[in-house]
């Protein structure tokens, strides 16, 4: 397993209008690891995550200073569309497009100009296999995707992202609306996906962070101030032997 740094975040501040929500964020995500971003609701986990593939700038007017480097290169220097293909994103509410299972996966490659049926078939099979869905769904590829269960929908969203062969996949509270068994499946999946990608998750579920991640970034804000990094380090250390008292209080559920 390589230990090169894939994503490097340094001195990042993010503002909504004139309001600073995240300040001085530093951390690195080594290739083939899972990094969990934890912290209380509203601490900017999603905002930070979304800034990694620049989907923030599409929906709300956020402004960022500091560096976010993907393979050593500032992400603002990438074409945003290419960046989003390389840095995929899974949302809390499984976003299944109102079409067939097949089309849900093929939509990405189609956007980038893959037209040949044989190529698309191959990508769809590969991606569904990658998302542990192929066995379940291979006989109903052309059925509508809305009928899938919540967990299947979320894995379908993962397959759709995999179809673009991303280097990083961001999971934004991706299991928050799923039952424990579906959650378990997604966590197993993340673990397998580590072999080919690098994963960053935002979660308010501390048990998930403890179970699934290699490194943990704990964000928190003081009353009326922007969120800062409280602690960043190997998950094991953060959860067993935190250096900062606030971390300990938070992970043991005594506040936040």
């Amino acid at each position: 397993m390589k230990t090169t740094t894939l994503l490097e975040v340094s001195k990042v501040n993010i503002h909504y209008g004139t309001n600073c929500v995240l300040e001085d964020i530093d951390f690195i995500a080594p290739a083939h690891t899972i990094t969990a971003i934890i912290g209380p609701s509203g601490c900017g986990k999603s905002t930070l995550l979304r800034s990694f593939n620049r989907t923030n700038e599409l929906i709300t007017k956020t402004r960022r200073t500091g560096d976010i480097l993907l393979e050593g290169r500032e992400i603002n220097d990438y074409d945003p569309l290419d960046l989003r293909a390389r840095v995929g994103m899974i949302f809390q509410k499984p976003a299944v497009l109102p079409t067939t299972i097949y089309e849900n996966v093929a939509v990405g490659p189609r956007l980038y100009g893959t037209r040949k049926k044989s190529e698309l078939d191959e990508i769809v099979e590969e991606s569904l296999t990658g998302a542990s869905l192929w066995k379940e769904l291979k006989d109903r590829l052309h059925k509508r995707a809305e009928q899938l269960s919540g967990g299947q929908k979320q894995r379908l969203a993962i397959a759709r992202t995999l179809a673009l062969k991303p280097e990083i996949i961001l999971f934004d509270e991706a299991t928050a609306s799923l039952d424990p068994i579906s959650t378990q499946k997604i966590e197993d999946l993340m673990h397998r996906l580590k072999e080919t990608t690098t994963i960053i998750i935002a979660t308010h579920n501390m048990k998930q962070a403890a179970r699934a991640s290699d490194n943990t970034l704990f964000l928190m804000a003081e009353e009326g101030e922007p969120s800062r990094v409280v602690e960043f380090g190997p998950t094991e250390l953060i959860f067993t032997n935190p250096k900062v008292e606030k971390t300990e209080l938070y992970i043991t559920g005594r506040f936040g």
Binding site: D82, P98, V107, G108, E146, R160, L164
Partner: protein
């Protein structure tokens, strides 16, 4: 108020609402029954498949059906792209602001202009100034102005009903806004857009005043869009105002049946569409 009084008032109000509902229903049933009973002979193949002849316009209504369908389709051909395009702009591109608000105000205003005013406007602009004469094209352009607000409003609302999650998912894959709109938002909103188009078609099909002075009254089936024609509703109007009431009732029956079909189609699409969104919310 005592509890007895409250119960009595409650019962009375219940009875009152039943009575109102019954009156409305009875009126509708009587209305339809009356028209059908006087015009049921319209349900005959000869009537539907032949042209009128003679000074009293005996015979069939085939050219009128052709004119009405022609005019409706031509209207949709012009109005749907314009309306959907405007809906896309309002829902996906326009932010908030004075200009957008004034566009919306103009659309609302347009939808409450009496149709005779559209007819008059069409007569001056399309028939006379643009020299289209009494033609299907002049009629369709006039009707386009009239049905545009319906299509625009309904398609804007259908676009807004598309969950943002779809847009996010698409944008997060690296789709451009244009790709997101055409490949994700538009296919999702298509049922709503179709509903709008069918309502507009119903409006256009039944319109009289806006068509009378723009598409003309010639009782012939038009071929080219530059030829005029007489729609069913104009035919009905002319028959009724010249005292051919029996003929008029038969035309009314044909009109009612076709408009009923339009409504059934739009209900059917709307139900499918709603069920889909409900199943998604679960």
């Amino acid at each position: 108020m005592t509890s007895v009084m409250r119960k009595i008032v409650d019962r009375m109000m219940f009875a009152l609402f039943i009575f109102i509902a019954a009156v409305v229903t009875a009126f509708l049933v009587y209305f339809i029954f009356y028209i059908v009973s006087r015009g049921y002979t319209a349900f005959s193949w000869t009537f539907l498949s032949t042209a009128p002849h003679g000074i009293k316009m005996e015979g069939g209504v085939l050219p009128m059906i052709v004119s009405s369908v022609y005019l409706t389709l031509l209207t949709l051909l012009i109005a749907v792209p314009l309306g959907v395009g405007g809906g896309i702009y309002l829902a996906e591109y326009a932010g908030k602001g004075r200009i957008v608000e004034s566009i919306r105000f103009a659309i609302d205003l347009l939808s409450s202009v009496p149709s005779i005013v559209f007819g008059l406007f069409g007569l001056v602009l399309f028939v006379q100034v643009m020299g289209l004469k009494y033609s299907m094209l002049a009629g369709a352009l006039t009707l386009t102005l009239m049905v545009l607000p319906i299509i625009l409003k309904i398609s804007e609302e259908s676009f807004r009903a598309v969950p943002d999650a779809y847009r996010e998912a698409s944008l997060a894959l690296g789709a451009t806004k244009e790709q997101t709109i055409f490949r994700v938002v538009l296919p999702t909103a298509i049922a709503g857009i179709l509903t709008g188009a069918i309502l507009a078609a119903g409006r256009a099909f039944g319109e009289t005043a806006a068509v009378l002075y723009t598409a003309g009254m010639a009782p012939l089936a038009p071929v080219s869009p530059l030829e005029g024609g007489r729609t069913l509703s104009v035919h009905l109007y002319l028959l009724a105002t010249t005292g051919h009431l029996e003929e008029a009732y038969r035309v009314a029956v044909v009109l009612l049946v076709i408009i009923l079909l339009f409504n059934l189609a739009s209900n059917w699409i709307m139900n499918r569409y709603r069920r889909k969104f409900v199943s998604e919310a679960i």
